[in-house]
């Protein structure tokens, strides 16, 4: 069996289970190495969505941050902008590329984690992807329908992640 060639994040061991803004969620460890906390919803674009009252907090998954490597900066689209599911919330910069951050749910951007704008602190996404490294807050406009397109079951996530790892391997 071929060895999985996902680059190991320098931060993969740091900050596990730190989710200061929402208490301690139960972690599901997928394929033995990627954190996918329960009660979160996950998109195939490697984003997570966590429903908080009438808003949705959004970030990059542990797997997403591991394949991206060190995050240098996150640049949001303007607050107040309406973004449809799968469309661009902002962009993130690594050492080698700038990539889109696609929204897991439709909604209006009402919050952004300003710490991610600075190179010195943007690696919070690597250190604590589900906690201090959160990215956006949106006011959802079509939540019920959008959630049907997201994953929250660990079995389904694992199945998808295996395919995703194969895809990433093939691209390398």
């Amino acid at each position: 069996m071929r060895k999985v060639a996902i680059p190991k994040s320098r931060f993969a061991h740091i900050g596990r289970n730190r989710t200061a803004h929402m208490g301690e969620p139960r972690m599901a460890k997928i394929l033995g190495k990627y954190d996918f906390p329960e009660q979160y919803h996950y998109s195939e674009d490697h984003m997570w969505a966590k429903i908080e009252d009438r808003k949705v907090r959004i970030g990059l998954t542990d797997f997403g941050q591991q394949i991206a490597g060190k995050i240098l900066m996150v640049r949001p689209r303007p607050l107040g902008k309406m973004v449809a599911q799968g469309r661009i919330l902002g962009t993130m910069e690594t050492g080698k590329w700038v990539g889109p951050l696609r929204s897991p749910v439709s909604g209006t951007i009402v919050g952004f984690n300003e710490a991610l704008r600075a190179v010195k602190t943007a690696d919070l996404v690597n250190k604590d992807p589900y906690g201090a490294g959160w990215m956006f807050i949106t006011e959802p406009t079509n939540l019920e329908d959008d959630l049907r397109n997201l994953m929250s079951d660990s079995g389904k996530i694992e199945e998808w992640l295996k395919e995703e790892i194969e895809r990433v391997e093939a691209e390398q």
Partner: protein
């Protein structure tokens, strides 16, 4: 028994320049460039075929190439990784001259125009990526704007037939 590991040499950017003035068929301003990168073939700068008034400007052309190449690489890498199909892509960079405080000529700016065609439904995404890239700059634009320290030292080569 494990196979011996192939030694990986650390890549060091390095350019060797040789004057071709002594070689028949070349002139006194012709130069040979040898790069230390497999993607860059050797280059001969053949100025001597030109009238004197047309020889200036090669360094400016090269800095314009540097300004565009680095950013273009980063743009293409980012668009490719985002799986945005590129229909057309080209850039034009112009190096504009100015003067420093003492009145000496300097390259004052490198202005690049990017021509990009992507499918309409991916335009927003491409625009967001490019805006980010242009805001933070590339390795070369950041380095030049911050200021690269240039240093030169010389070796006196012993001239054949000289007294010293």
């Amino acid at each position: 028994m494990s196979e011996p590991k192939e030694e990986v040499k650390k890549y060091v950017p390095k350019v060797e320049v040789q004057w071709l003035g002594k070689i028949l068929s070349y002139g006194d301003e012709d130069l040979f460039f040898k790069f230390n990168h497999k993607a860059l073939p050797p280059m001969v700068m053949h100025k001597s075929v030109l009238p004197y008034r047309e020889r200036a400007g090669t360094s400016r052309e090269l800095i314009a190439a540097v300004a565009s190449e680095c950013m273009v690489e980063w743009m293409l890498m980012s668009l490719k990784r985002a799986k945005i199909p590129i229909k057309e892509f080209s850039t034009v960079t112009e190096a504009k001259m100015g003067n420093d405080e003492d009145g000496r000529a300097v390259v004052a700016s490198c202005d690049t125009v990017v021509n990009l065609k992507v499918p309409d439904d991916r335009l927003d995404e491409a625009r967001a990526i490019l805006e980010h890239l242009l805001e933070v700059g590339c390795l070369m634009s950041r380095s030049v704007e911050r200021g690269i320290k240039f240093s030169y030292k010389y070796n006196w080569l012993h001239a054949e037939g000289s007294d010293s």
